[in-house]
Symmetry: C2
Subunit: 196 residues, 2 copies
């Protein structure tokens, strides 16, 4: 895709995020999004034919960002430094404008829209699997105990991140960096080998 097309898609998604956060997914129309982005319906529909396609693009973007982050952590020699860096990146992403608001809209849509639910589950399972692979690699390198319940630990880490996102949704004025140190310590504890 050309840079211009990518920039156009980014503009449309940013405008959609503003509309969804302001009035909610269901009370936003494609017309509202066209007005917000100041493009004709034809220009918007070339990229996204429905609000569902826009939500799908958000989920896919987020999923790709998370894969990239986890791949970068895996490429670092030291797991613990990598995890600290990961927490800082996630906190910065969730702190960014409208991220938490959009997550709440996607959450509600997941409940009763099977197509979105399927995408969100797929993205969640990919994150879960990538965390397990990252920890398995660290086990092979001798950086983690070998008898960890990795699927459950990955779930608990994802719960913390989802819970953090909701803190921001509920209190948009809060700066989440306050929680970074506590999150880093808790993740290290989960990986320390305590038996659940």
């Amino acid at each position: 895709m050309s840079n211009k097309a990518q920039a156009r898609q980014r503009q449309i998604l940013d405008a959609a995020a503003i509309c969804f956060a302001r009035r909610g997914f269901h009370q936003t129309t494609m017309d509202d999004i066209c007005r917000e982005v100041q493009l004709s319906p034809g220009s918007v529909y070339r990229y996204y034919r429905s609000k569902d396609e826009i939500i799908a693009a958000f989920v896919e973007d987020d999923s790709r960002d998370m894969s990239d982050l986890l791949r970068q952590v895996g490429a670092l020699p030291n797991l613990w430094q990598g995890l600290d860096w990961l927490v800082d990146q996630l906190v910065a992403a969730i702190n960014s404008p409208l991220y938490a608001e959009l997550s709440a809209e996607i959450g509600s849509e997941t409940i009763h829209n099977p197509r979105i639910a399927s995408l969100v589950r797929q993205s969640d399972q990919a994150n879960h699997q990538a965390l397990i692979e990252l920890f398995s690699l660290a086990q092979q390198r001798g950086q983690l105990p070998t008898d960890l319940d990795l699927p459950q630990i990955a779930d608990l880490i994802i719960m913390l991140i989802d819970g953090l996102t909701w803190r921001k949704g509920l209190y948009p004025e809060h700066d989440l960096t306050l929680y970074a140190a506590g999150l880093k310590h808790t993740i290290k504890y989960l990986l320390s080998g305590t038996r659940f």
Copy 2:
């Protein structure tokens, strides 16, 4: 309020939860709720004049349940047993039908409905404060280190619970009791005196 009125309110709330989970808050009408509960509009409007009032009732119910649970934990002599019991109660509540679905709908409504946002924040702050008071009491009894960052620990515990709720929203078929032991250990770790 008479028992009959209370039972009627419960019936209406249960029907509304089914409708919201099925089609979402915004696509549900008061008529849908009347049909689901098999009552006339007049009977429903006597208790709830709008969907906002129904959502407000859910938030208030949940807030009252959480206060009750925390009061019971505070009345137990042993904090650690109390916290284990609390986790089991919360897991059972979040495991119950439609709880997580309804939470996701309330989450989305919180983003763009100031009246609901204010109620949800109030309820969250009451839970946060009740956790801090519970831990302060345990400190006075010599059951916890005295130099804990209680507000942050309470926030991290709430994040875990919110994240757990979203696990259930995303995977309604999952049994959350799988996570109970991991959650209990993590909460004990948070209260163990590690400096963040």
